[in-house]
Symmetry: C2
Subunit: 168 residues, 2 copies
């Protein structure tokens, strides 16, 4: 097992455990158990529990950003927005825990966590806004706002299992 693979495994385990139990309530022992390693071994890869959360959040943002970049590169101007929505819904379905962890982290006050969250939102917004502009969509700022807003309500709809929130 290479070191980088082991690190990835720990991050995956942390995403699951933090999302299911809540970051502050979850224990590093639970993460270790999920990753099938000993509890102290986590600290060979991450300086602290908070550093592990940070790494988990970076991984989750990267997935969204990579997915959106792919869509922007390949989608037609007419399909751009619907393809972005579809890409996000796929992530929400396949990596629900990463979204739950992001939702949690929106209210975590630690500076390092706040920074990751802000940078994630900033970058996603920039990708969408630039793509909308280059596609010649009218009122790109307003449309970007609505796109992000629908995404956030979609998260809540999924987290609380309230599909009616997204029904028209």
């Amino acid at each position: 097992m290479t070191s980088v693979n082991r690190k990835t495994e720990i991050i995956s385990a942390a995403i699951e455990v933090f999302a299911e139990i809540g970051y502050f309530r979850a224990t590093t022992a639970q993460v270790a158990e999920r990753a099938k390693i000993s509890q102290p071994y986590i600290f060979k890869f991450f300086a602290s529990k908070e550093a592990l959360l940070q790494a988990a959040l970076e991984a989750s943002w990267e997935r969204i950003i990579n997915s959106f970049r792919l869509v922007v590169e390949s989608a037609s101007k007419e399909q751009l927005e619907t393809d972005l929505i579809e890409a996000y819904e796929k992530i929400l379905a396949s990596h629900h825990n990463e979204i739950l962890l992001q939702m949690q982290s929106q209210t975590i006050q630690e500076p390092s966590i706040r920074d990751v969250m802000r940078e994630g939102f900033r970058e996603v917004r920039q990708i969408v806004l630039t793509a909308f502009r280059e596609a010649g969509i009218a009122s790109p700022e307003e449309r970007t706002l609505i796109f992000l807003a629908r995404g956030m309500l979609c998260n809540i709809s999924a987290a609380l299992d309230m599909p009616e929130l997204m029904e028209v």
Copy 2:
């Protein structure tokens, strides 16, 4: 000091402490200190820390719901949506902690907390949807979805101190 006032004070203290520190990390001793009572005394009013969170959430939803009902009763049809937005922004400015606590609770898995959150969203959505319908607004379901979605992005914008998320 009447029992009901004391209870209200504890709830106010809990909202502050839970919002600032995070529900799972915050301690009942911190809530007690904020309420200027002893830590055990909390448990004369609330059976558990979770019951206290539940009461805090109920209070926060009630504020929003009462405010929206007032707007719906008095606003003109043309001003309805802007007045609702204004009412929500006022709450967000004056009771930021209540919104932060709601955001946290969107991902807390305990059944009693989930139930409070679902009921809160359900009721707010119903009030807005009914008001939009009765005001003769076109596509009331779609407009309600957008209204709620913008509200959720507004929460995040405030929580992360990212005003650019709401700029057009």
